[in-house]
């Protein structure tokens, strides 16, 4: 069966959707991703939809589902690369992708994920390194 490949990079999972998804493929992606999050302990999921020309309410719901499910599994989701025409259409359709983080491109998406994760990570090491410098001033 056809599947969308999921790449692991550090503590992130990367998915690039290169084809127009039909329903079965989208549902497979949803369950594959959640399984991968659980198996790898990934802290972030990045979904690149720059090659996707149509996002309808079904596809939008899948993206929302992935984000909510990942959050429950302690991972954040960022959707990147949405085409302007898709964004215009989504809002008019009435789908605002609430609860899904978005970024313009993969680079910005990675930054966003990193920030989200740093936010929750213990900062003790950084503080120790920085404190001597602070005192010299």
């Amino acid at each position: 069966m056809e599947r969308i490949p999921i790449l692991k990079m550090g503590s992130f999972l990367l998915v690039t959707i290169q084809v127009d998804l039909y329903d079965r493929l989208a549902l497979n992606l949803e369950s594959d991703l959640i399984n991968m999050v659980s198996k790898t302990g990934a802290r972030g999921v990045l979904i690149d939809i720059s090659a996707v020309s149509i996002v309808d309410s079904f596809m939008g719901r899948i993206l929302g589902n992935i984000a909510s499910m990942s959050r429950i599994m302690d991972a954040e989701t960022v959707v990147v690369g949405m085409q302007p025409a898709v964004a215009i259409t989504l809002v008019e359709l009435g789908l605002t992708l609430q609860g899904v983080y978005t970024a313009l491109d993969v680079e910005k998406g990675m930054e966003l994920l990193q920030k989200k994760i740093d936010l929750y990570a213990p900062q003790s090491e950084d503080e120790e390194e920085q404190s001597p410098d602070d005192y010299t001033d």
């Binding site: 127009d20 039909y22 309808d56 215009i88 259409t89 008019e92």
Partner: protein, 137 residues
């Protein structure tokens, strides 16, 4: 109003959705529709064809290129012989769904296209006709 090109597609499985969307894109490109308008039309078509599969287990779509007052457009007619819709007015409201979906399909599709018409007879089926003009108005 005159019809320039006409074709019919049978929709019986979810795998028919992507080829159908491609066909709609072909028609929209043929009359020089802009990308945003193409995306709106195809997304609306995707919602409607999905409804047809879900509630009536398929049907047929008539695709046409039409011309009126020197403006060209794409007309899609979705015909199914499913259970029909008891209360069309209710079905056209945002967030109403008898299935488990978001209830954006019909009202969302109406917002995305220039002309939208629905008629349904319980027990006999539903026909939805949409028109999107080249310049989106």
């Amino acid at each position: 109003m005159i019809t320039l090109t006409k074709d019919t597609m049978q929709i019986v499985r979810e795998q028919d959705v992507v080829p159908f969307r491609n066909r709609v894109r072909e028609y929209a490109t043929k009359i020089g529709m802009s990308l945003v308008n193409q995306t709106k039309l195809i997304t609306a078509a995707s919602e409607l064809v999905r409804n047809m599969l879900k509630y009536a287990s398929g049907g047929k779509v008539i695709l046409e290129i039409i011309s009126k007052n020197a403006q060209s457009g794409v007309r899609l007619t979705f015909v199914d012989e499913g259970p029909g819709i008891e209360n069309v007015q209710q079905a056209m409201q945002d967030g109403f769904s008898t299935g488990k979906s978001l209830g954006l399909g019909l009202p969302g599709a109406r917002r995305l296209v220039n002309e939208f018409n629905i008629s349904s007879t319980p027990g006999q089926g539903t026909t939805v006709t949409v028109i999107h003009w080249k310049h989106g108005r």
